[in-house]
């Protein structure tokens, strides 16, 4: 069963309902003891990186997540939840993330190298480009549009963790992962058939475990 980590930073309702519609069992909890019973975890997140990172730290959820990942439990971070998988963010001053994936989270510059201004947040439907189509998250999926809404973007010097990306004045890591750790910058539960496909692939990966 999937355990959705409820730490007060996110819209858990839509993700839960999406899993229900897809026919997968899940539960919500903030309690590491409860969450230990899950065979796979989802870390949602909307809001500020700094607040989220500090709540995870204070509640002991950070240590819990790290030890579960160490044990091989699959983890999927969504939106801010994905950004938290990386080393650090500069949102409201530098704060440390979970450090499960190499990279930093920086604000979109809002201006290109040649001085052209562009809009931030990156908001709307953008097309995925698959870099690692063999990833279990992309099984049976095509390079389709998904819904993004974010002002900060992951910068990583390890292209092997970028499973799929979108193009918005540079490469935007959209699906990331390494081993049993995964993340999506977009909201799969709000990304029509393609998003639900990714969520479903993740849930099946857990069931197969």
């Amino acid at each position: 069963m999937i355990g959705i980590i409820d730490y007060g930073m996110g819209n858990l309702y839509s993700v839960s309902k999406a899993l229900e519609r897809l026919g997968f069992d899940y539960f919500l909890s903030e309690d590491p003891e409860e969450l230990k019973k899950a065979s796979g975890l989802i870390l949602p997140g909307v809001g500020s990186f700094r607040d989220a990172a500090s709540i995870l730290e204070k509640t002991g959820l950070k240590d819990f997540i790290l030890s579960e990942v160490e044990k091989g439990t699959p983890l999927l971070g969504i939106c801010l939840g994905m950004q938290l998988l990386f080393e650090e963010s500069e949102e409201n001053g530098v704060s440390k993330g979970l450090g499960l994936l190499p990279g930093r989270v920086l604000r979109f510059e809002g201006v290109t190298e040649d001085g052209t201004k562009y809009k931030v947040p990156h908001m709307g439907w953008n097309k995925l480009r698959f870099h690692h189509p063999e990833s279990p998250l992309l099984t049976d999926l095509e390079e389709e549009h998904v819904y993004f809404v974010h002002s900060y973007v992951v910068h990583t010097s390890s292209p092997d963790v970028v499973i799929a990306s979108a193009d918005y004045y540079g490469e935007v890591p959209a699906v990331v992962g390494k081993g049993n750790v995964f993340g999506t910058q977009f909201h799969p539960e709000k990304s029509s058939a393609e998003g639900l496909g990714i969520l479903s692939n993740y849930a099946e990966l857990i069931e197969r475990k």
Binding site: N11, Y13, S14, K17, A18, E20, R21, V46, G47, S48, G110, K117, Y118, K119, V120, P121, H122, M123, G124, W125, N126, K127, H145, Y147, F148, V149, H150, S151, D167, Y168, H187, E189, K190, S191, S192, A193, G195, L196
Partner: protein, 252 residues
């Protein structure tokens, strides 16, 4: 590349879609969830629900609508109307809406936009601006209370202010063009879209697919909203999108 968005808007009163919806093939054209699902199937990129309930009961019913829509649809949606304090935003967002939109409340209390953006992130906060051309200032003036009250704000100045306060998006309605079906207000949309660094949704005046092409190319809009032409089936979301694709607009 980010696509241009087509956004149908539904007016909801006491839990029912109202104001000129004519859908012969739906069992019940007044059901917001059914209509939302219809537009989703047609390829709508996003939906806006405007709660025009006057009573507390109506507002509570809206929360149920939001919950049902979020449970059954996998596209993002915004809820506007009756958002006057942080608590209102919490209720709507927790029920599964992706964004909240404020209009009069943002003018009366600009701090509200800041509070919302700090708490939920700028991406959740939409400021709706109703603007009407005023020759005395040779620009557009911002109106509140559903277009009944003129304010002292000039539209560009106000748009920049809400951006500074943390709005993640602007829903810009031209009061001159609204209901005329003779096209979006290109000058207004372009002026606002170029003045701010956040996405702008153009609204008011959509009469045919050509108008969407104009507002994306000449008006520099990031998204375009329409109500009656979709509700009355004068055209459909998929027709508009097919047309735009042929015209070379990036569309999902």
């Amino acid at each position: 590349m980010l696509t241009k968005r087509i956004i149908p808007c539904l007016d909801v009163k006491d839990g029912r879609v109202v104001k000129g919806v004519q859908f012969v093939d739906l069992k019940d054209a007044g059901d917001p969830v059914e209509l939302a699902a219809f537009y989703d199937k047609e390829g709508a990129d996003e939906l806006v629900f405007l709660d025009i309930s006057a009573s507390h009961e109506g507002r509570d019913t809206m929360i149920d609508v939001v919950r049902h829509v979020a449970a059954e649809l996998a596209i993002p949606f915004t809820v506007g109307g009756g958002i006057n304090k942080l608590e209102d935003m919490k209720r709507v967002l927790r029920a599964g809406a992706d964004k909240v939109s404020m209009n009069t409340a943002a003018v009366l209390n600009p701090e509200l936009v800041k509070e919302g953006a700090d708490y939920f992130g700028t991406q959740c906060i939409v400021v709706a601006i109703d603007a009407k051309y005023d020759p005395s200032i040779d620009s557009w003036r911002v109106y509140t209370h559903g277009g009944r009250k003129a304010t002292d704000w000039e539209v560009i100045e106000w748009a920049k202010t809400v951006e500074e306060n943390g709005a993640g998006e602007i829903l810009l309605t031209s009061m001159n063009a609204d209901g005329e079906k003779s096209g979006f207000d290109i000058k207004l949309t372009k002026a606002v879209s170029e003045a701010v660094n956040i996405p702008v949704i153009a609204s008011g005046g959509a009469g045919n697919a050509d108008h969407f092409d104009e507002v994306f190319k000449d008006g520099k809009a990031d998204a375009a909203l329409a109500a009656s032409i979709f509700h009355y089936k004068e055209t459909s979301v998929s027709e508009v999108k097919d047309f735009l694709k042929k015209r070379g607009v990036t569309i999902r």
